[in-house]
């Protein structure tokens, strides 16, 4: 079947099987920044924004997304680079496999919660696993980022 998605501001059409998951449709179309980590919706590396809301693209049917807008980290280049600076400054950018999905969720969190405290941050990002960093350096980066960018 054919679906239409607005991806990072561009209207695009896709030929899909009805059972295709969004992550596969996106990766096949070259959006390799959306990663596949676990197949069960447990790790968060496949996170994209659907109409601005963070979802797991591995657990979302492409057909359900028909007519909606998708944002990957590539669609938020400026914000990603801005947050990325803080990650790099802490050494929190390790293997980087969790980074695009994680950065996207942090940006979504900032938009949704404004200035969350540590517990709120941990809770919002609980679905973004990281095996490399132990999470502490990421938290240091997030706190500094929120403080620096709080208008």
């Amino acid at each position: 079947m054919r679906i239409q998605l607005n991806i990072n501001g561009l209207e695009k059409q896709f030929d899909i099987e009805p059972g295709d998951m969004l992550v596969d449709t996106l990766r096949r179309a070259g959006y390799t920044e959306v990663k596949k980590g676990c197949d069960t919706g447990s790790c968060g590396v496949c996170t994209v924004l659907l109409d601005g809301t963070p979802i797991l693209s591995c657990s979302y049917l492409s057909a359900k997304a028909d007519g909606h807008s998708i944002t990957t980290i590539r669609g938020l280049e400026k914000e990603a680079a801005e947050f990325g600076e803080f990650l790099v400054a802490e050494g929190a950018d390790q293997c980087g496999f969790c980074a695009p999905g994680f950065a996207l969720t942090v940006i979504a969190m900032k938009r949704e919660l404004g200035s969350p405290g540590e517990e709120e941050i941990k809770h919002y990002l609980a679905g973004n696993l990281c095996r490399c960093s132990g999470y502490e350096s990421q938290m240091r980066a997030i706190k500094k980022y929120l403080e620096a960018t709080h208008a």
Partner: protein, 263 residues
């Protein structure tokens, strides 16, 4: 998931026809159902039916079937009526991204043993409104093992004068529960639900009777009721824990849920 045909229903009537007459499989969020690696001939998407709402109607709160777990976690209506009960319940579901996909209808229809939400809904005395097929009490709905076609429109939760609490034990914070309980007090007395047994949630009826009508029973009575709950329900073993463990921990969790709800 293999799907032959995918249809986004334009109306509840259309959805009903597809589900009841053409063996259509209703797709809520789609997150849990795909894990069963099913082959589905006809998938029916319910996202265009305006079923995503949480609203107060008289003494009830209506939760549309397409409300997400995140809607539940952040709902002002539910917080006003129940305090932290629903946000505590939804807190453990994987993460914000999964909560934005998982729907109440999908969770209820799945009758999943691992569900935290089903345990709390059972304890509130909620009712399941099946489109064109009537209203079913939550207890009856969960216990019914039939696999016949169902189309859930909304869940009705009595919201007047309720006080409830949710307790659980799990390994990591967002793992499936090893066990969960919810205790809710209303003017008709107590309801105590225990889920992830590992089976789906059930009411501890005798334990609730023991507590009586008081909102703040004394601690001896709470202890007795908690032990009764562990004795009257059945528990099994899986990779997360044994039946013995679940039985032991049920007492502790029920006691704490009642104590918290009693405050």
């Amino acid at each position: 998931m293999e799907i032959s045909t995918f249809v986004r229903a334009a109306s509840l009537d259309e959805a009903y026809t597809l589900v009841h007459e053409q063996k259509g499989f209703p797709v809520g969020g789609g997150a849990w159902s795909r894990l069963n690696a099913r082959r589905v001939d006809l998938a029916v998407d319910l996202s265009a039916l305006g079923l995503r709402y949480i609203r107060k109607k008289g003494s009830m709160i209506e939760i549309g079937a397409m409300s997400t777990a995140r809607d539940i976690e952040t709902s002002r209506e539910l917080q006003a009526a129940f305090g932290r009960l629903f946000s505590d319940t939804a807190a453990h579901i994987v993460g914000v991204q999964m909560k934005n996909i998982v729907t109440v209808g999908g969770t209820v229809a799945g009758r999943y043993g691992f569900s935290d939400l089903n345990t709390t809904l059972l304890a509130t005395g909620a009712e399941v409104v099946l489109y064109k097929e009537g209203t079913v009490g939550f207890d009856e709905f969960l216990s019914n093992r039939s696999n016949g076609p169902i189309l859930i429109e909304k869940i009705l939760v009595p919201a007047a004068g309720l006080s409830g609490a949710f307790t659980t034990v799990r390994t990591t914070v967002n793992d499936f529960p090893i066990l969960n309980t919810a205790a809710v007090h209303s003017d008709t007395g107590w309801r105590i639900a225990v889920g992830a047994r590992p089976g789906a949630a059930r009411l501890a009826v005798e334990a609730a009777k023991t507590l009586g009508a008081e909102k703040s029973p004394d601690s001896l009575l709470i202890g007795k009721a908690a032990e009764q709950a562990a004795a009257e329900l059945s528990f099994g073993s899986d990779i997360r824990g044994s039946g013995e463990y679940r039985t032991a921990v049920c007492t502790t969790l029920v006691k704490r849920a009642v104590q918290e709800a009693a405050q």
